[in-house]
Each structure stands twice: as C-alpha cells, then as structure tokens.
C-alpha cells in the first residue's frame, strides 16, 4: 500500500463490511501509482470490481494514474432531483394516474432504446456538448444548466475517442433510464432537518419532488470496456503492475490515459444529456396530466456518482491538482466553492442520496470538512448488501407489491426487477446518511418518502 485505507462506518456496520471483498479492494486501490493521502470508502461501500463501489481515490496530476475501474462501467451514473410547486395533498387522488403516465412516457427496460435515434454526426454533438445539445434541440430548460454538476458539459470531451461500437450501443438510448437499480421516483419531503439550508434549496415539508437515477447507458458501458482492455495491454509499456485487472490504469498524461479521459468526458456528457431529456419527458407528462394546477418542476441539482474530475486540494500543507476518482460516491462541495451555483454558495452543494424503493432518500449539503477529509466527497446511496438471487429467494413479489401499496407507494416496472430491488437488498440508508453526518462530510437537509416508483 502506498497510502492508508480509510473507511467511514459506524460500529454497527462493521460486521457487514467483512462479508464481501470491499475492504480487500480498498487496500488494492491504495497501491495505485500516484495515489495521494488515502484510499477511502464511504459508508455505503460494497464489493465492486477493481475499486469497491462507494470508493474515492485521488491521484497526483498529471502523472498519477487514471483508472476506468475507479469510475465504473456506468460512466456518470448519477441522480437529479426536481422540485414541484405542489404538495402530496394536491395530487394524492391522481398518484396512480401519474405513475402510469410516467411509466408510459419514460422508456425503460433492459437494453431498451427510445424514440430519439441519432446518426453519428448528431451523436457526436451530444458527446461534445452534453446538456447544451438538449437545450439547442428544445429538450431542456435554460435555467437547468447552472444546477447541473459541471454545467452538464465536460469541456474535455472528444467524440473521436469513443468507439463506433459504443456509439452504436448508445445511438437510440438518449432519454431512457435502462433497468436494474435505475428509476424515476415521486417523493414527498417528509422531514426537514435544517430549515436554513432547506430554504436556500427551495425545499418545504410535504412538497412533491421527483428523483431521477440513470447514467450513460450502453455507450458509457462500452467506453469503459474498451479502455480497460486498452489499458491492460498498455500497462507493461509503463512498467505498471496491479493486483486486480479491473484496476487497469495508466498515467493520466500518457496518450492512452488522455484518450480514456476524453472518452469518459464524452460519455459523461451523454449521461447529463440523458437525464435532461428524461426530465423533459417528465415535465411534458406532468403538464399534460395536471395542467396549470401542477405548476412547474424546477431542478434542484444533478450530481454524478461515477466520474473522475480534475480538482485542487490541499494535502499535507501543499496545494495540489488531483485526479479525483468517485465510484459510487457523490461530490459534496462545501459553502463558498466557486463551482457551486450562486444560490447555494452560502450553504453548500446539494448532495442527493437515493435510498431503496420503499424506504427513504435524502437531500444533504456539502461541507468544508468534506473538502479537507474526503476530497469533497460523500456517499451515493444505500449500498447493496444482498445478491439479486438471494433477495429473490426471500422476497415474494406479490407480498412486496402489497407491502408497498400498503405504504401508499405506487409501483410500475418489471416484476423481476422490482423483487431484485426490494429494500431488503440494501443497507439501511438512514444509518449510511447518519454516518456521513457524524463524519461532518455532509449535513442532512431533508428526508424524502417515496410515493411512486418507476423501475425498468
């Protein structure tokens, strides 16, 4: 190990930490060339491939490594929260209709595409421009852009570094959510923990909010696959050996390292554009169904939780530019950071933490402490604790649907997908969030209770 490994966890979580290989993977991350300070695991950590999911690692710019395994196959998988002008009471009688309308309008499902099919030239523009392509083509609201991490457009994107196969996989997937743990959810703000920050964010108790979780779809998956292969073949040239092939990495300033970074940026742009177009679909459906009484849907924030960014931090008294890898971890910039919107400058960046279906999600706020402790990072969700096979054995789909209905939750999606995503499959999100709060790396602002869940 070149640096220590830090795990953020409460005592009651320690037992479960030892049940998979996440700690072993964290120790492997600590061997990466150029890694700085520590390899870190957030409290929702679980076994991934290469990096654990819930992992944060920063390497020295420009010659420290960049590792696709430190970002994940779903490049810029992320989440955004839309805030409405209505309360649960206002739409209570219409929830089932809203559930169906959203399910009908948002393409979802394994490998499934949507109605936006792009030729290569147009797709290249999406990869270059990100959410700005959506704006130019009337799929976005201008005001959204300042509330998206990196303005929804990575400037370093180069579509030429994305393979034709990746483009073929993604050409019909813009504006779709996919399947697995991706979803759209209508939530009620059930609790406010910090009135001051909530006011800055525009959050109120009983307010209806809409959570969207999806990423770069097949395009991003293929970019990661392509470059892991390229890097594995090139590593001997740079004298790099690693304990796990999924940690394949190269110096950031190598030709191949730069190619990956530019391709990753392009895939990230696809994902931001994707979430913006899903938002466009939701707004259209919301307006069609509820009319003027539904009001508008404003974007609180959009965060990536699988990405690498070039950021500056102070480490042991020295200011450094670093390549920060967040794999299943969310950026959590504190108050005053120039990259967060002016509206949130005094309170810190919104950190959106989706829980599991049937439990709760959270809005948190980034802190100054996170900038010092975790390279401006926090957890990304509840973290999976049970395999899909295991949860299908213990959760009977009819019972799950009844239980969710009894809780007042309307569900739409494939039955198998629903059972695999049952709350039992995930860690206790309340505990994960409490850990982050006690560590001081993000502060609780609001708790969200699901009312409608749409899964692929």
């Amino acid at each position: 190990m070149r640096v220590p490994a830090y795990v953020y966890a409460m005592e009651e979580m320690l037992d479960s930490l030892g049940r998979d290989k996440s700690l072993e993977q964290l120790v492997n991350v600590a061997t990466l060339p150029g890694i700085v300070k520590a390899a870190m695991a957030m409290p929702d950590v679980h076994e991934g491939y290469g990096f654990p999911i819930g992992g944060v690692a920063a390497t020295r710019w420009p010659d420290g490594v960049i590792s696709p395994g430190g970002i994940g196959y779903d490049i810029n998988c992320g989440v955004r929260l839309l805030l409405s002008d209505v309360t649960k009471q206002d739409i209570k009688s219409n929830l089932d209709n809203v559930a169906q309308a959203l399910f009908d309008i948002i393409p979802s499902g394994a490998g499934r595409g949507g109605d936006i099919v792009l030729e290569t030239e147009m797709l290249d523009r999406v990869l270059q421009q990100g959410v700005n392509w959506a704006l130019d083509n009337n799929y976005a609201e201008k005001d959204d852009i300042r509330y998206i991490e990196s303005g929804g457009q990575f400037p370093h994107a180069d579509p030429a570094k994305v393979s034709e196969e990746a483009k073929k996989r993604g050409h019909d997937q813009l504006g779709t959510i996919g399947s697995g743990n991706h979803f759209v959810e209508i939530d009620e703000v059930s609790e406010i923990y910090d009135e001051n920050i909530a006011q800055s964010y525009g959050l109120q108790k009983n307010q209806i909010a809409i959570l969207i979780h999806t990423g770069s779809r097949g395009l991003g998956h293929q970019v990661a696959t392509d470059y892991i292969r390229i890097m594995m073949e090139a590593m001997p040239k740079y004298g790099i050996t690693i304990p796990d092939r999924e940690l394949a990495c190269l110096p950031f300033n190598s030709n191949e390292g730069q190619d990956y970074y530019h391709a990753m940026a392009a895939a990230a742009n696809f994902a931001w554009c994707n979430r913006e177009i899903v938002t466009w679909r939701i707004r259209k459906s919301w307006s069609n169904l509820l009319g003027i009484s539904g009001g508008s849907l404003r974007l609180l924030y959009d965060v990536a939780h699988n990405i690498a960014k070039i950021e500056q931090y102070e480490v042991d008294g020295e200011k450094m530019k670093l390549i920060v890898h967040r794999k299943g971890a969310t950026r959590a910039f504190g108050p005053g950071h120039p990259e967060i919107p002016q509206r949130y400058s005094s309170v810190g960046q919104p950190v959106i933490i989706p829980g599991s279906m049937g439990t709760a999600s959270y809005v948190m706020a980034g802190t100054t402490k996170s900038m010092e402790a975790t390279f401006g990072s926090a957890c990304h969700g509840a973290g999976r604790q049970m395999s899909r096979t295991a949860v299908r054995k213990i959760v009977e789909i009819n019972d799950l649907e009844k239980k969710l209905n009894k809780q007042g939750i309307f569900v739409r999606g494939s039955r198998r997908g629903l059972s695999e995503e049952a709350p039992e499959a995930y860690k206790d999100v309340d505990l994960v969030v409490e850990t982050v709060q006690r560590a001081g790396i993000a502060n609780k602002v609001a708790r969200l209770k699901p009312l409608v869940v749409i899964k692929g």
């Binding site: 679980h46 697995g180 097949g218 395999s387």
Partner: protein, 156 residues
C-alpha cells in the same frame, strides 16, 4: 445443439453435461457465472451459453426464423483476457444487433488468439441489462478434476 419440438426449433440449453458445466453463483451486486469444460473450446461454449441464458430465456424460435451469424476475431494478453474480451464482444454485438448468440458455427482458439463464428437469433427484448463482462475473479485454469474452469462476473 438443436432439437425439433412442435412448431419451433428448440435451442437445447444444457446446463451440465460431461463436457461443460454452467452454474450461477450469488454475488452482492452482480451475477457470477461458474463455468467448466473438458477443453478450452468447451469452456468458451459454456461462457457463451451462460451469458446467453442471462440475456434471454428465449429457447424456442420459429422454424422459419433465419439465424444470425457474426464473425469475431480477437487477440488478447492471455487466455483469461481472451475469454472476457470474447464475451464482451458478443455482448456488444448482442445489443447492437438486438440478438442473443448461444452457440458457435466454428471456433478456433490458438493460445491467446481466437477466430469464431457465433450463431444467434433476434430478440424483441432482453431479460437482463448486462453493463459489462468484468475481469473480476476471472482466471482460466485447470481445476482439481482436470477440467478448465473459471468464474465470470457480469456487471448488471
């Protein structure tokens, strides 16, 4: 292996024979395939079939449906990477063609090089969204019983 059954062609799914074995092992976030074969070719057959089973449970196609053939040529750093790269390539072709490939028309493996023609059928939808075939835990080697074996973890 094909069978004639009623009005369709049954794409015989054999999970365990003396030649090859396919098993699915629980894994926290993903799906893990355990495969074995008496030869390297059989191991690759098991991998292809095992992944096909995840992508689609469709085992019966109308007689008149025309099979799709795809040629795959690969060189990798070693035979383990060759298997993962091969399955990755098949996965890509599956999603691009909207088809599931379950068998070989031909397969030549020479060390870390492969030339294959895979055979499949189109599907309307997939049962599973496999993001990627990962290298995690994969190691092609001979087991105690003398069969070639490895695990393959799919990111779902």
């Amino acid at each position: 292996m094909n069978f004639r059954h009623q009005n369709c062609v049954l794409l015989g799914i054999i999970h365990s024979t003396k030649m090859k074995q396919i098993a699915y092992i629980p894994h926290v976030a993903d799906v893990c395939l355990e495969i074995k074969g008496n030869t390297i070719n059989e191991l690759f057959e098991a991998g292809l079939e095992g992944m096909a089973n995840l992508l689609s449970s469709k085992v019966c196609v109308p007689h008149e449906e025309v099979p799709l053939n795809e040629t795959i040529t690969l060189t990798s750093i070693d035979v383990t990477a060759l298997l993962i790269d091969f399955l990755s390539k098949v996965l890509t072709v599956s999603y691009v063609d909207k088809a599931v490939f379950r068998s070989f028309d031909s397969l030549e493996i020479n060390g870390n090089k492969l030339v294959a023609v895979i055979v499949g059928y189109s599907v309307k939808e997939f049962d599973e969204d496999i993001k990627a075939v990962t290298h995690h835990g994969a190691e092609v080697k001979k087991g105690k019983e003398g069969q070639w074996e490895t695990n393959v973890l799919f990111d779902i």
